[in-house]
Amino acid sequence: ASLGFGTPASDNEIAGWDIDIRPDGMGLPPGGGTAEQGEPLYEAKCAMCHGSFGEGAGRWPVLAGGEGSLTEERPEKTVGSYWPYASTLWDYIHRAMPYPQPQSLSDDEVYKITAYVLYLNDIIDYDFELSQASFAEVEMPNQDSFYVDDRPDVVNARCFEDCADPAAMTIVGTIGGLSPTGHFKEDSGVSASHYGDSAPEASTATKVSLSEVAVRGQGAYDQYCAACHGSGVAGAPKVGDQAAWSGRISQGLASLVEHAIQGYQGDAGYMPPKGGFTNLADDVVADAVSYMAESSQ
């Protein structure tokens, strides 16, 4: 039944792209590592977003905790409380993390960091050597809680008369403040394609004396830089910390901007090019640097 399209995929070509890992261990490469080895890697590459204990910085995902919460009012679904297989963690960290530098980790690094995230979830010990061979020993607490879709689970009737009791109906409206409505209210001053800038997450307090450029840079800072420079993880100079910034500012803005765009290895830590968000335009990064510098004087 072959139409004759396509060219044979060589073993080498397949090997380069075949990155997936399965619960039965298929796909796991040689190598290995412990949580202990993973800790400094996690601190340097993950903690700025996911928190040193996997608790999640800001709105970035929480990776640990939540055991026993799945039947509660606000369940916390984490690697430990929810994920059925440890292979998923290896696969996902390897394919998609760190978020701005996917597929940048070596296999050993993935073993180590995976071990550390499992350790943060009390699933393995600090010195347990995670490897092809030992992977099968890892047991995930929630593994047996998944069942295959059994919908339709609800049967409604096509009733036409007296289908509900009007006296028993309670009409509940929306919770004010959360809803994006600006775009259909004239002159609301809300920009048309974005809403909720006033929503849950508060941004770093703005100094009154910021330049126009710095004001323009605040949005990018909040979005792309605050994960590290808001908390100071991984050696990042924290915004507002005048001591950490004065020496840097005295180098001149041009040099700061260059470092931010090109990345550099400093004494305190490593700054990845554009903080890893290499899709950002240079001038967006430059504006954000102005914001950070002016806010730290």
Binding site: S2, L3, T7, P8, A9, I14, W17, D18, D20, I21, R22, P23, D24, M26, L70, T71, P75, S87, T88, D91, Y92, R95, A96, Y99, P102, Q103, S145, F146, Y147, V148, D149, R151, P152, D153, V154, N156, A157, R158, F160, E161, C163, A164, P166, M169, T170, I171, G173, T174, I175, L178, S179, P180, F184, A192, S193, H194, Y195, G196, A199, Q223
Partner: protein, 399 residues
């Protein structure tokens, strides 16, 4: 009927372009052909996708919503298709594009875009819906606009080659029961697809609404699983691996599983069940005048064709049959209408869709009764708009 402006005389500015005046645009030549070799909407319009930034930590892994309140018919213009990314939009060079199929197959192959486009093609109008559509409303009404309550669904004319045709090229081995579909985006988006779906109606798509896929929808090639949760229709598709069991990747364990009140979770909850919503009136389209009104809305089912839609004006106490308008295609948005009068009375307006399997769209109480409020996905319950005496429309829930 004379406009006496002699050549050279200064014509005074018109009070307006309305009758009896001749409008300005009647009296001067407009732009000629190919002023825009690829056109765009009138500057007088501003339909757009919109997002809610606080929903996610980063716009590169986020969602935007189609402006259902402004759309007509069943085709979503490609520029307004809802967006969902987990690592932003990759800029794939079509000349370097490759689709690899390997695993439990006789002949692992790599297909170029040209290969795919030269194979037998199929074109179908189908919806794509994010299973999180409406998910912000499990615990209570949150969104004050139709675009945000239901805008994670869009409908396009998709063209591509049946996945079954490609699988015949590689020769699936008897043990091959699942297929891992993997994207080339920064998220390396991956989902396990049962072989039955792959051999049924799954498409490997390269065109949308007549032209190449938009980058937002997976240019140059995406998988399309009609009627299934949008996330399974992997975009920027680079690889299909045939295996004997599912992969249980992050997007089918951590996400896109449905937590039930007993703490257990549904997995592989693929199908998007029958859903519907009234698009006129809605919060963005309040009723502006008493008298005639055509209630309109959209219905869709991942299990097939919409057979009927009913309307209630009293919050579900009594129901009337609406009219299915225009094309009612399987797994496609389907428009319904109902002509009536509004005289200022308050309405609690609801729509209820029925598909070809006989499934009747459930009430919110039924869905919550079965699934609780922590299940995030697959909220397809009957929706209520509160039409006030002023004609204003707000989002409410009836409990």
């Amino acid at each position: 009927v004379a406009t006496a402006a002699a050549a050279g005389a200064v014509t005074p500015a018109l009070a307006s372009n309305k009758a009896p005046n001749l409008p300005e645009w009647t009296k001067t030549l407009g732009r000629g052909v190919v002023a825009r070799p690829y056109g765009r909407p009138s500057d007088f319009t501003d339909l757009q996708r919109r997002t809610v930034p606080w929903l996610t930590a980063s716009p590169e892994s986020s969602i935007s919503f189609s402006p259902l309140q402004d759309l007509k018919g069943i085709i979503t213009p490609s520029g307004l298709h809802f967006e969902r990314y987990h690592g932003g939009i990759p800029e794939v060079n079509p000349d370097e594009y490759q689709l690899m199929i390997h695993g439990l197959v006789e002949r692992p192959l790599i297909f170029t875009l040209d290969d795919l486009m030269r194979m037998p093609s199929v074109t179908e109008i189908r919806f794509i819906e994010c299973p999180a559509n409406g998910g912000m409303e499990w615990k209570g009404a949150q969104m004050e606009a139709l675009q945000f309550t239901h805008g994670m669904v869009s409908c396009s004319e998709w063209t591509g080659v049946r996945l079954s045709t490609l699988l015949a090229e590689v020769g699936v081995k008897a043990e091959g029961k699942w297929i891992l579909a993997e994207g080339s985006d920064a998220a390396g988006m991956s989902r396990s697809i049962p072989i039955d779906k792959a051999l049924d109606d799954a498409l490997i798509c390269y065109a949308q609404n007549g032209e190449p896929l938009r980058p937002e929808q997976g240019f140059p090639v995406r998988l399309m699983n009609p009627g299934w949760e949008g996330n399974t229709s992997v975009k920027w598709l680079r690889r299909l691996e045939v295996g004997d069991q599912p992969w249980y990747h992050r997007e089918e364990t951590s996400k896109y599983t449905d937590l039930m009140p007993d703490g257990r979770s549904r997995k592989f909850s693929f199908v998007q069940e029958t859903n519907s919503v009234v698009t006129n009136p809605c919060p963005e389209n309040p009723i502006q005048q008493k008298g005639f009104i055509e209630i309109e809305g959209l219905a869709w089912s991942g299990r097939g064709t919409i057979k009927a839609v009913d309307l209630s004006f009293d919050g579900g106490v009594t129901w009337q049959k609406a009219e299915v308008k225009g094309l009612a295609l399987p797994k496609a948005l389907t428009r319904f209408g109902f002509k009536t009068q509004w005289n200022g009375e308050p309405w609690l307006i609801q729509s209820r869709a029925i598909d070809e399997t006989g499934y009747v769209q459930p009430t919110l109480a039924q869905l919550r009764g079965e699934r609780g409020t922590n299940t995030i996905y697959h909220k397809n319950s009957i929706h209520t708009w509160n039409v006030h005496a002023s004609g204003e429309v707000t989002n409410v829930q009836i409990t």
